[in-house]
């Protein structure tokens, strides 16, 4: 008997509903994961279709957010190039904890069709940020994406907030360990990068290669239509 069955005939049950605060929190979190609205390549088009009327991602409680600060998880949908990799790292860092990463498509899993000769393609986004769910396919079918979505919800559902390690099952423990390990690796890399950044600051700061400081602009005359 699920919760909803009881709600159908509220007058017949007298009693109460037992659960833990952890379950309640996790249930709330897993049913309202907001994602960062952001796409990279072909997979992003498929993701748009997932979002639109036919497949309707919003029934999972997922709403697109335009800023990483409000997002719970980020979907890496497409090929990550080396030029883009720095940006993705920055986006990930801007998200607030707890945060999850979903890698959509072969490209972000492992480089996909470009893994051998793509000199400018990062072979797997997990080289720069920790990934929680991998969705295979080129592009993944919407059904496959939903499978990944359910995996992510389960992951959130089973996460321990207050529970002690001693009361966890072996499976949960392994999952926790894996996630912690990934996070640790990421933090180590980030620390090294931060040191490098401090070094570059000492030697005059980073150069912005795009700016060559010699834009001369002749302002055009502007026509505006005024409604009185």
């Amino acid at each position: 008997m699920g919760l909803l069955d009881r709600l159908d005939n509220p007058y017949e049950i007298d009693g109460f509903f037992l659960g833990t605060v952890e379950d309640l929190l996790n249930w709330g979190r897993s049913k309202s994961d907001w994602y960062l609205s952001f796409g990279l390549a072909c997979c992003a088009i498929e993701f748009m279709a997932i979002n639109a009327s036919h497949f309707d991602l919003m029934r999972f409680g997922s709403i697109p957010r335009a800023t990483p600060r409000q997002a719970d998880f980020i979907i890496i949908s497409g090929t990550v190039t080396l030029k883009m990799a720095d940006r993705i790292k920055k986006l990930y860092e801007q998200m607030s904890e707890p945060k999850y990463v979903m890698s959509m498509g072969s490209c972000s899993n492992s480089g996909g069709p470009y893994w051998e000769h793509g000199y400018h393609v990062l072979k797997g986004v997990d080289r720069i940020i920790p990934v929680d769910v991998y969705v295979p396919g080129c592009p993944p079918r919407p059904e496959a994406f939903f499978e990944g979505m359910i995996k992510l919800q389960n992951l959130i559902n089973n996460q321990a907030i207050f529970r002690k390690r001693s009361s966890m099952s072996a499976e949960e423990l392994a999952q926790l360990e894996e996630r912690n390990q990934k996070q640790k690796e990421y933090m180590e890399r980030a620390a090294i990068e931060y040191e490098n950044y401090q070094e570059t600051l000492k030697t005059g700061g980073m150069q912005n290669p795009d700016y060559n400081g010699k834009y001369t602009i002749n302002l055009p005359k502007i026509r505006m239509i005024d409604h009185e």
Partner: protein, 384 residues
């Protein structure tokens, strides 16, 4: 309603600081990973510098390591919204090198699928363009219809987005038995929705006011920048490879080349570019109808002419078709082996995007989004 009057403001004399604003590469309305460095005077754009290459996937280098049939999936991933159209010029080029003559029925199938994909592409273009301006409902309507087209493609090729369906010398599989009925059903639905979207969005007064008289691209500038497709036709130049140099069997169909007329404002503004796409859907429907009527009924083995091993003679050819976004061409250099020596892509979006700095100066920053949306780029093709 009061009277309209036009004020000329000369900001040249005003002494204010300009702001450099960085837009992208993860901005929701840059249609992918495009980064624009915008210089602003107040809210008015004075300079736009596009930085591209955030999706540079080494297409041309990869092709040099692949045999010709292996290249086709990579070609799909250039303009991933209109994959069927992408495969065509490449396949046609290799067939020309090999001297293969394609059976008539296959040509008809290719025309129908390419035109269907053109409709799907324009649906996305119009939908996202509407969404940029704040209209969300047409997006849902158009994507609902696009699913019908994708379903048909899936029945043919097994893929929803990237098909690998046009093969050198034929097709991957035969068409499904319900092909004709499906096509007719799609056309009917497309026409219905177009009427709906026309009322809802295209002829909406708010929308018209929003996008007329911005991003004006005169015809000579468009030609000089090498634009093609709806961007060039929106400026009133009737350049369409299907009519000018009919490839395949396009000379058998009766259809119009849609050009912008400046009906709502100045010739070559955002509205013109958008209306070209909307009306082209109708023309594509016409072509599909004629093709279905003319298509021979007898069954044909679509893989009969597919060579076991594609080994092209020495040669260099430039092969092009009219894609939904414009002229897509492949310059194939063959050194007589099974792999191309060099594959140069004339990427439509790449060239169309280069006109953006020219046409967005002097407008508001919010107009910049509309101008970018009206060019209809796809970053996979820009960066290759």
């Amino acid at each position: 309603m009061g009277q309209r009057k036009t004020i000329e403001i000369d900001y040249g004399a005003v002494d204010t600081d300009r702001m450099r604003l960085n837009m992208g590469p993860q901005h929701p309305s840059t249609h992918g990973v495009l980064r624009l460095e915008v210089e602003l005077e107040g809210e008015i754009v004075t300079e736009v510098v596009p930085h591209i290459g955030y999706l540079h996937r080494c297409f041309e280098k990869t092709c040099e390591f692949m045999t010709y049939p292996q290249v086709i999936p990579y070609v799909d991933r250039l303009d991933y919204i209109s994959s069927m159209n992408n495969e065509w010029p490449f396949v046609m080029g290799v067939e020309k090198l090999l001297g293969i003559q394609i059976p008539e029925k296959i040509e008809y199938i290719r025309v129908i699928l390419a035109e269907l994909n053109r409709i799907a592409n324009h649906q996305i273009a119009v939908a996202t363009f509407g969404m940029d301006s704040g209209a969300f409902t047409p997006f849902l309507y158009l994507f609902r219809d696009r699913e019908m087209i994708l379903d048909l493609f899936e029945k043919c090729s097994g893929g929803r987005l990237l098909y690998n369906y046009f093969w050198v010398g034929g097709l991957q599989h035969d068409i499904p038995p319900t092909f004709k009925e499906d096509c007719l059903a799609i056309i009917k639905k497309v026409r219905e929705t177009n009427a709906e979207v026309n009322n809802l969005l295209i002829k909406n007064k708010i929308f018209i006011e929003r996008i007329t008289n911005i991003g004006i691209l005169p015809a000579d500038v468009a030609i000089n920048f090498g634009c093609s497709g709806p961007v060039l036709r929106g400026s009133g130049v009737p350049y369409d490879l299907r009519k000018d140099e009919p490839y395949s069997i396009y000379d058998r169909f009766d259809f119009n080349v849609i050009v912008g007329e400046g009906a709502m404002g100045t010739l070559g503004d955002c509205w013109d570019r958008n209306i070209v796409r909307v009306n082209e859907m109708e023309e594509s429907c016409k072509i599909i109808e004629q093709a279905i009527a003319q298509m021979p009924d007898e069954a044909v083995d679509v893989r009969a002419l597919v060579p076991k091993r594609v080994k092209t003679p020495k040669g260099e050819i430039y092969c092009k078709t009219e894609n939904p976004k414009g002229e897509l061409g492949f310059y194939i250099v063959s050194d007589g082996s099974t792999q191309p020596y060099r594959m140069r892509t004339r990427a439509t979006s790449f060239i169309n995007l280069s006109v953006l700095p020219e046409i967005s100066k002097g407008y508001m920053i919010s107009d910049l989004i509309m101008i970018l949306g009206s060019i209809d780029i796809v970053l996979g093709e820009v960066d290759r």
